[in-house]
């Protein structure tokens, strides 16, 4: 049974395994529970089904030859400790105030086009001879997926879709702005990765690949949308076709683990307010963590904590019409 003790901005519940809900406010929620949903990584590891390599390519997949800066070489995106100087800050704040700039729309660039794209990109990012992140280990070691550019694309496209489900729930003009920035950055980054990291020198070939990836993105988004609106098995089949490359020998335990992983991200996003999401407070839950549904009381407390967090934001650049309640 869950025991909840509510402290400042934090809801703690009692018993065994630690889990985490993403998002700045949701990140403070730590839940412990005994019921039968385990984290996706452990679930996938519980199966010992013999692994049969899928022969997808005639020759080994092309691997990155060099490593470019994660998002760009600009300090804003490259330096986690970057701070704009105070003169520029006050000048910017004055401009926003004088011209009454719609900050929710302006925020789409740095949040969706940079922060959220970075979140999607890093989930399955790998470089030869470099240690894998926790989420990349889940995809390439636990689920035994091949390390290739197109596999990275498919996993990134899945995370793009997860975010776009939440973006649709923003007011229309902001949803369009956020989605546009995210997809633009996705394709611009793929183009750069292909030319700089993968060493493809022909623009014509890159353009051909981009068109192919665009078609694949449209197809996978449609399949995932269908799965979201129907049932688990339809969504699982969509994941099997797109992420597991239609592998006939795919492990059902792995498919279930990935489906649980996707569903828990959607649950966290469902519980986030527009304001939190619009301000970039979402982070994907790691595959070795498990989300437990919130009780009504926890939801009320969480909402109150979020409101307290955002109440003190009164700079012109922090203005927003996005809802704190839904």
């Amino acid at each position: 049974m869950l025991r909840a003790s509510i402290t400042k901005n934090r809801i703690l519940c009692g018993t065994s395994s630690t889990t985490r809900l993403s998002g700045t406010a949701l990140r403070h929620v730590r839940l412990y529970s005994n019921d039968d949903i385990s984290n996706p990584s452990s679930l996938a590891k519980s199966s010992n089904l013999p692994k049969i390599e899928q022969q997808l390519l005639k020759k080994p997949a092309r691997q990155p030859k060099k490593k470019s800066p994660f998002l760009s070489s600009h300090a804003i995106e490259n330096d986690p400790n970057y701070k704009m100087n105070s003169f520029l800050q006050s000048f910017g704040q004055s401009l926003i105030k004088i011209f009454n700039i719609d900050m929710d729309k302006s925020r789409a660039g740095p949040i969706a086009g940079s922060k959220y794209y970075g979140e999607c990109k890093k989930q399955a990012l790998y470089y030869p001879n470099e240690p894998l992140s926790e989420s990349a280990k889940f995809y390439y070691e636990t689920l035994n997926l091949p390390q290739s550019f197109s596999q990275w694309f498919q996993i990134t496209a899945l995370h793009y879709w997860i975010l776009s489900v939440r973006m649709r729930a923003l007011p229309f003009k902001y949803y369009r702005a956020y989605q546009q920035k995210l997809v633009d950055r996705f394709f611009r980054d793929m183009e750069l990765r292909m030319s700089e990291e993968m060493g493809i020198s022909s623009n014509r070939i890159i353009e051909g690949y981009l068109k192919e990836f665009n078609t694949q993105l449209l197809g996978s988004v449609l399949s995932y949308d269908e799965g979201l609106m129907t049932d688990d098995i339809t969504l699982a089949a969509a994941l099997w076709r797109n992420i597991f490359n239609g592998n006939p020998n795919a492990d059902m335990r792995h498919i279930e683990a990935l489906l649980g992983h996707v569903r828990q991200q959607l649950y966290v996003l469902n519980k986030m307010s527009d304001r939190q999401f619009g301000f970039g407070d979402f982070k994907f839950v790691e595959p070795n963590e498990v989300v437990k549904p919130l009780t009504k009381a926890q939801e009320v407390e969480l909402r109150a904590a979020v409101k307290r967090n955002y109440e003190n934001m009164d700079l012109p650049s922090q203005r927003s019409v996005l809802s704190l309640n839904e």
């Binding site: 688990d232 569903r263 649950y267 469902n270």
Partner: protein
């Protein structure tokens, strides 16, 4: 019938209950998996692994995760585009086809 054969039969029976996919894809999950679990290759798999395969498949068919991580209308009828999923599902089910004019309107106005 050994318990391994029973498990294989249960898996195949469960797979046979899946509805045919509404859209034609490059591979059908149902058909490919029925063929796989009906083949003799699965005879080398241990009973415990087969049991796990069956449990996972059963959980997926029973919508375990959909019911556990319930989503509300905030995501399923999004305010930015409330008809988005209805339009897609109507098209997939063949109830209402997108016309050239409605497609044009969607491209221009986004909904």
């Amino acid at each position: 019938m050994s318990s391994r054969e029973e498990l294989l039969k249960k898996i195949v029976d469960l797979l046979k209950t899946l509805p045919q996919e509404r859209l034609k894809h490059y591979a059908s999950f149902k058909d490919v998996q029925i063929k796989r679990f009906s083949s003799s290759e699965m005879s080398s798999v241990s009973e415990n692994d087969l049991k796990l395969q069956y449990i996972s498949l059963r959980d997926l068919v029973n919508d375990k995760y959909k019911n556990y991580y319930t989503l509300d209308d905030k995501l399923l009828r999004p305010k930015g585009n409330p008809e988005y999923y209805n339009r897609i599902m109507a098209d997939i089910r063949g109830e209402k086809k997108e016309t050239i004019f409605s497609a044009f309107r969607t491209v221009v106005f986004g909904k």
